[in-house]
Symmetry: C2
DNA sequence: TATATAAAACCGACCAGTTGGTTTGTAAAC
DNA sequence: GTTTACAAACCAACTGGTCGGTTTTATATA
């Protein structure tokens, strides 16, 4: 077999084994020996492809980021023409994809954080760009951010096995998040937002009692 | 020194050391030896207070849950009279508290998950009750769930060091989440919600295309 | 109150197993 | 014939956990 492809096959086998281990046994069980066992390679073989464990983690992260990047750009291409906020739509859809995909490669992220929190820098930086794009395209940046945050909440909760929601609810919520029409009702032009809530706790109700009233309020944008 | 208080002081020292370690070095670095070193106790001393590492984790979890439970009930007492949805308000405030508190004890959760995913059962069950209460009290349960999810998204993101948001934005978003008046505009009575978004991926634009147009669409309720 | 004794809290050396990583050897690809 | 891909034995450091012993506190007795 060709040398280059042989190498790539081994790298691939190792990384996929790693993901399998994380998903099955938890991030704490991801060791080099375990990867060797699970992939069929010898430990020496694994170490030949990745000089350190951190290299494995980094490769795992990059691979996952690449995967979702791909999904992202594909989705973006489809909606950028029709959507007013394609970046938000794309991010929401991507997060949903991550939450849905079974062996969720997003587990790589968890593993990375456990072992070496510093590695989180890479995804965080990429995320900052995305958030910036979302804010830039939105008539109400904070609302967009909140929709984005909600999606992430759903994703992370289920990723860590602490989601109290059923799959049905999960899907329904994502659908509503993605539906721009559902949110137009609370949009507020960036600056003139009335802040009726001071950051201190101990009171947060005041309004909200008569829910239907506000619904009819007309909304325009620049 | 009294025996009982001596014990409690040691337990306390160990648990606080544990939290410090998780926050500083990541959950993967939490070992019994590290706890001993960091707390000033000897390893034997630590082992005397906690028979196994799992016992440490469990104690950490329980302690954290107790702390937020306390905050929760306190907040609830204050707001239950005036708010239309006190459970949601309380949960939002509690999550904000967790996200704000510096040494965030919520890290215990991460550590538990890494070491023994089964431990997540306890917090998840408690969470399910809370979510049920939130749904029960709300005129638009899904909207409430989404506000709840957004709060969790903000919390978990910053907890894992992957929040791309500034502290200012963070605070502002929580404030808006808590303000019921800001959300009345999109409330929809539980059942007759239009689902224009099927859960398959690869298409989610269709609607939302002409955003302003849709915004004017009247939404009525029973 | 003084003292003997038990019990609890704590220490630190130690154990077997595991960890990330290295070294040495070998067969195939170049 | 040199480099590349892999295997297998190996290593020091560390892992969770045990154990015999020392100190501190509690209790009984006189």
């Amino acid at each position: 077999m060709d040398n280059a492809t042989r190498s790539e096959r081994s790298r691939n086998a190792a990384l996929e084994a790693a993901i399998r281990i994380i998903a099955r046994d938890g991030p704490g069980r991801l060791t080099l020996d375990a990867i060797a066992r699970e992939s069929g390679l010898s430990k020496g073989g694994v170490m030949h492809q990745f000089r350190t464990k951190e290299a494995v983690l980094k490769a795992l992260l990059e691979r996952q980021m690449e995967h979702f990047e791909e999904f992202s750009t594909g989705y973006m291409a489809k909606v950028s023409a029709t959507s007013a906020n394609p970046n938000l739509a794309t991010q929401l859809a991507t997060v949903r994809e991550a939450a849905t995909s079974p062996n969720s490669a997003a587990l790589a992220l968890v593993a990375a954080m456990v072992e070496n929190p510093g590695l989180m820098m890479l995804p965080r930086e990429r995320e900052m760009k995305r958030v910036a794009a979302i804010k830039a395209e939105s008539a109400d940046p904070d609302l967009a951010l909140l929709r984005w945050a909600a999606a992430r909440g759903l994703l992370l909760s289920s990723l860590f096995g602490m989601s109290p929601l059923s799959k049905d609810e999960h899907d329904r919520l994502f659908a509503r998040l993605l539906d721009d029409g559902q949110w137009a009702g609370v949009e507020q032009p960036a600056k003139e937002r009335q802040t009726k809530e001071q950051p201190t706790k101990a009171r947060a109700a005041k309004s909200g009692a008569a829910p239907a009233a506000k619904a009819a309020t007309p909304r325009k944008r620049a």
